[in-house]
Point group: C2
Chain length 185, copies 2
DNA sequence: TTGCCAACAGACCGACCGGTCTGTACAGTA
DNA sequence: TACTGTACAGACCGGTCGGTCTGTTGGCAA
């Protein structure tokens, strides 16, 4: 499910395709997911968020957060290229397809993004003096999503590298503090 | 068409819905767009890119590019809120739904993004000394897309404001030059 | 006036969509 | 051993999808 969502989005995958992938007949599905495709999607979103949070928890603590983010982006680049520029962020596709009526899905996505931002913000705060940790976290998530998107349609990791090359130096200057206001803890 | 694409994506809209919106019967469509839905989508994408480029051309020249971008983002925020958090970037949704097999669509999208990046990069270069104009352009497009995405699912412009508040000061320091390496022309 | 062809209109098509419904297999209980 | 309720299986449903096909119209050439 997660995989298919990542590739084609919620409307793009058929229930039958999902079930075929999972080698599961259709009948039993509605016992476990009475909400049908929507509930399935919510579960997949939550799973993906949990995975991503786990990855961030592995990369972020201790190290220089910018270095950790560079590693994160590098991984995403590899994943994208390895999938032949099919796999993107599993949250983003569903996010853009969803309408305001899809309350459950939007809630799951909003919670997911908030959780990711919170984790990044926490890492910035822990790494030292930082004024606008929440803003930086939102910027990074945005840059990540946007970079992935551009790279996907371009069929090349070049846009991601461009974004990284522009963003990380800026982040370093911000995090390491302007020379006249240095502080570390 | 553009509107519908923006709201629900390529797979999310039915051809019948598009035609009903346009008050056009189905028959004549295939005279003008023998390629069917795909060709229609490509045309819509190109139209949107042209519109966006026109907007940028209106905002960017002359002024401080960062101020122009702030205006641009503010407009996007207004549009998003005014649509009840339905309308996003018309390119992004289709971009994420598309697979590598959709050659024509991906090409149109890649060209579109490249054109937008080029316009931004040009503005940076024109505005003064700048090392990595292409990188900054890619970063801004990425941040824009990602911010829009987060704001949409959150049902609030707050994420966009966060991103803007983090990005624009960074851009200013970059564009106005580090204090020990100032240069203007 | 007549013949012709591009432009258009919408009825129609098979395929497939998400979802439901009946039937079955099989634990746990007495 | 007989009973029962849950978990599963897949045939089946109406609706809608993207796309095609047969008219019909209306301007233009002769």
């Amino acid at each position: 499910m997660g995989n298919a969502l990542q590739h084609k989005g919620l409307h793009g995958v058929g229930l039958s395709e999902i079930l075929a992938d999972a080698d599961t007949p259709k009948g039993g599905l509605y016992h476990h997911f009475p909400g049908g495709k929507t509930e399935l999607a919510v579960a997949a979103i939550e799973q993906q968020v949990a995975d991503l949070c786990a990855l961030l928890d592995k990369l972020l603590p201790g190290a220089d957060p910018v270095a950790a983010l560079e590693l994160w982006i590098a991984r995403a680049q590899q994943g994208l290229a390895a999938s032949g520029f099919q796999r993107g962020c599993p949250l983003a596709t569903v996010a853009l397809e969803s309408s305001a009526q899809d309350v459950a899905i939007r809630q799951a996505l909003a919670d997911g993004f908030a959780a990711i931002r919170a984790r990044l913000a926490l890492a910035f705060e822990a790494s030292g003096r930082i004024a606008n940790a929440a803003g930086l976290a939102a910027l990074i998530v945005a840059a990540y999503e946007g970079a992935l998107l551009q790279a996907r349609v371009a069929g090349s990791v070049a846009p991601m590298e461009l974004v990284g090359a522009a963003l990380f130096p800026l982040l370093r200057t911000q995090l390491q503090g302007p020379p006249d206001d240095q502080a570390t803890d």
